[in-house]
């Protein structure tokens, strides 16, 4: 029967060592290469640093015209844009794999296990399959809009990375309107979804698109109000500015220094789930009612683009939440003075500065992955809610509570102005409460396992 088992796993027992090594190499190597490229290119794409780096590399830039300098800078920016988009695509594919693994464990299944160790290469296989399929356009569809819709969605997704931080100096453009810009460009996604729903000329797609529009526009309000809370606490809209106004330790994070900010985070999190069309808010593509919603008529590469954005949004929403509420890339014991000292006075920063950048990037990526896992976890815990429940949740709960939190934060900032110690006290108390809650939660989880006679067992991961 050996002729029938045509997989990469050799016989019974363990995965072949070469497959494990290849999986580890790609699984860690691909994101590491992309993150390293972001690490190098995002500081170097600033004009002054780029010219200094070119000069250090032996290129005589002093004789260049202004146009030539602009061209060099535009090339650097274009490469960085390509790297950021590739990072979004790769992280989206790997999130698909990870989500399927986690969901199958939560349902007592094994999950992906055929392609590579732990089925890791499944996302590549799926992508290749989608690219090779025929790109169908329904006969009665509005062909131009139908073809254009995925690019709106992809543009809305890709533009977010312009203002998404990765580390202390690692951001494509630290705009002074950062969070406002991100809120604005993510609205482009709903335009694409609405176009997709309309142009498909299918009632399922139209229903899905309309639901998505209603949902996203409704949830923009609590999301924006909740995002205002950290903005008010730091006094800036810039993503890096918001992170710099927080400390490295948990009791210095926005989520804990203001008791209302934690409520704001909860509102922001729920609203982001709804805006990203994630379960329990995946009504626009509710397969039990709408086939696949606005995706019904799509196939091939255009379908892949929608999916890329849907799963890439996990990273985006987690990174924004980490930026706003959980201290971003702040590294303990390394303040702004340490960064300035490591940078030195020359045109190009010293090696220590690059080391600190790597450290800040690691902190940011680790925090983002934790939040990303919570999003995945919530998806496989909660069932999909009804349309009326979704609207009730938004307009009767999230919006009023968001306003209360907004006003309470104003008052809290007045209190901090009079009594600066209150922020520290709140941070300490809230963080202690969070730790106790987490411990209680893990105790409850252990009880769930032991109550039915099972035990914690990770042997078959």
């Amino acid at each position: 029967m050996n002729s029938k088992t045509q997989d990469l796993c050799a016989g019974s027992g363990k995965t072949a060592r070469g497959v494990v090594l290849a999986t580890l190499a790609v699984g860690f190597g691909l994101p590491l290469v992309l993150l390293a490229a972001v690490l190098l290119l995002s500081p170097l794409s600033k004009p002054a640093m780029l010219m200094a780096a070119l000069g250090a590399a032996g290129v005589n830039v002093s004789g260049w015209s202004v146009t030539g300098q602009y061209v060099a800078w535009i090339v650097a920016i274009a490469v960085l844009a390509l790297i950021l988009l590739s990072f979004g695509a790769v992280i989206s594919g790997m999130t698909v794999w990870w989500e399927m693994r986690v969901s199958s464990r939560m349902q007592s299944r094994v999950g992906y296990n055929r392609v590579g160790a732990a089925g890791f290469f499944q996302w590549i296989a799926d992508a290749v399959k989608l690219l090779l399929k025929e790109d169908l356009v329904p006969a009665d569809a509005d062909a131009l809009l139908f073809r254009a819709a995925p690019y709106f969605v992809l543009t809305g997704f890709g533009l977010v990375f312009v203002a998404l931080p990765f580390g202390e100096s690692l951001i494509a453009a630290d705009m002074n309107v950062g969070i406002f810009y991100i809120t604005a460009v993510t609205a482009l996604i709903v335009v694409g979804i609405l176009i997709a729903g309309w142009s498909s000329n299918s009632k399922w797609a139209l229903f899905g698109g309309m639901r998505s529009a209603a949902q996203v526009i409704s949830y923009e309000i609590p999301s924006g109000l909740a995002a205002m809370v950290p903005v008010m606490m730091s006094g800036t809209l810039s993503m890096q500015g918001i992170i710099r106004s927080q400390g490295a330790w948990p009791w210095e994070w926005h989520a804990f220094t203001n008791p209302f900010a934690l409520a704001a985070f909860a509102i922001f999190f729920v609203a982001q789930l709804a805006e990203g069309n994630r379960t329990p808010f995946d009504l626009p593509e509710a397969e039990s009612e709408l086939v696949a919603g606005y995706l019904s008529e799509y196939s091939s590469f255009r379908f892949a683009l929608f999916f890329l954005v849907e799963f890439g949004n996990l990273w985006v929403m987690s990174a924004i939440a980490v930026t706003l509420f959980f201290g971003g890339w702040q590294v303990p014991f390394v303040g702004p003075e340490a960064f300035a000292a490591a940078r030195g006075v020359g045109d190009l920063p010293g090696a220590a500065w690059w080391g600190l950048q790597i450290l800040s990037m690691l902190v940011f990526v680790a925090k983002t992955l934790v939040v990303l896992n919570v999003v995945v976890w919530v998806r496989w815990t909660l069932p999909r809610i009804r349309v009326d429940q979704m609207m009730t949740l938004c307009w009767k709960y999230l919006v009023p509570i968001a306003f209360v939190v907004f006003v309470a934060t104003l008052l809290w900032q007045m209190l901090i102005a009079r009594l600066p110690v209150s922020a520290t006290v709140s941070g300490a108390v809230m963080f202690a409460a969070a730790v106790v809650t987490a411990l209680l939660f893990f105790r409850q989880t252990r009880q769930n396992i032991s109550a039915v006679g099972d035990r914690v067992d990770f042997t078959n991961w």
Partner: protein, 239 residues
């Protein structure tokens, strides 16, 4: 719908509680061992050995104890069993089974053929892995048309019929035959005595290849034509 303050706060409390309990339940399953097994590899035993003993997999016929009674063929509700009997030319009292085909691709594994078998020659096994590139390879031929086997004479006092170990015959078949081997062409078996085919005129031979063997290659038309007179003799028997 009007809502009291108690209902409003109660809804928030319910949400928090259901998050708390729901998330802890899913996390607890994340930390447990999955109940499903990784088929087909990484199973502690071959899957067929983990199946219950009365699992109804592929049918298997032990032709050393087959009485040729055709009870299984009559019992089959979809007619996926085809049996042809003929007389032994050397010994007119001995009947031979010249054809015992079971089309496993049509079988619905109901077990009705197993019930009437007087000796237990036809049985379900626990074999189920029948991936083949050509579906016709799933027709298992338990009698060799070129070498028919004699029917088994039942001893009235016997309490036990010596049967090959259940599953050994069909497993041997599945293991020796490649999954992507070419499909057989189902020509009727060549008669042992081609002398009987002589009087068959051309007008009778002409429709036979087109009607009986649409998949046969043109080169195979000659043996099919030679077979034509035998077909009426076989038909009344198998109905």
């Amino acid at each position: 719908m009007p809502q009291s303050v108690r209902e409003y706060t109660g809804a928030i409390r319910d949400t928090v509680k259901s998050f708390w309990h729901g998330l802890s339940i899913t996390l607890s399953y994340l930390a447990r061992r999955p109940t499903t097994v990784q088929y087909p590899d990484r199973t502690p035993l071959p899957v067929r050995d983990m199946l219950p003993p009365r699992y109804r997999g592929f049918l298997e016929v032990d032709n050393t104890i087959c009485t040729g009674c055709q009870a299984c063929e009559r019992a089959c509700p979809i007619g996926c069993i085809q049996i042809t009997l003929e007389k032994d030319p050397t010994n007119p009292k001995q009947r031979l089974v010249a054809q015992f085909d079971i089309d496993e691709s049509r079988c619905m594994f109901c077990g009705l053929c197993v019930e009437p078998c007087p000796t237990g020659a036809i049985q379900h096994t626990r074999e189920f892995e029948g991936t083949h590139r050509y579906i016709r390879n799933l027709v298992f031929r338990w009698a060799d048309p070129m070498n028919p086997f004699p029917v088994y004479k039942v001893d009235k006092t016997a309490e036990y019929f010596p049967r090959a170990p259940l599953g050994s015959l069909v497993r041997q078949r599945l293991e020796t035959l490649a999954w992507d081997r070419p499909a057989p062409e189902f020509l009727p078996p060549e008669p042992p005595k081609p002398a009987a085919a002589k009087p068959a005129p051309a007008l009778k031979a002409a429709p036979a290849p087109t009607a009986a063997a649409p998949a046969a290659k043109p080169a195979a038309a000659a043996p099919a034509a030679a077979e034509a007179p035998k077909a009426p003799a076989a038909n009344p028997e198998s109905k």
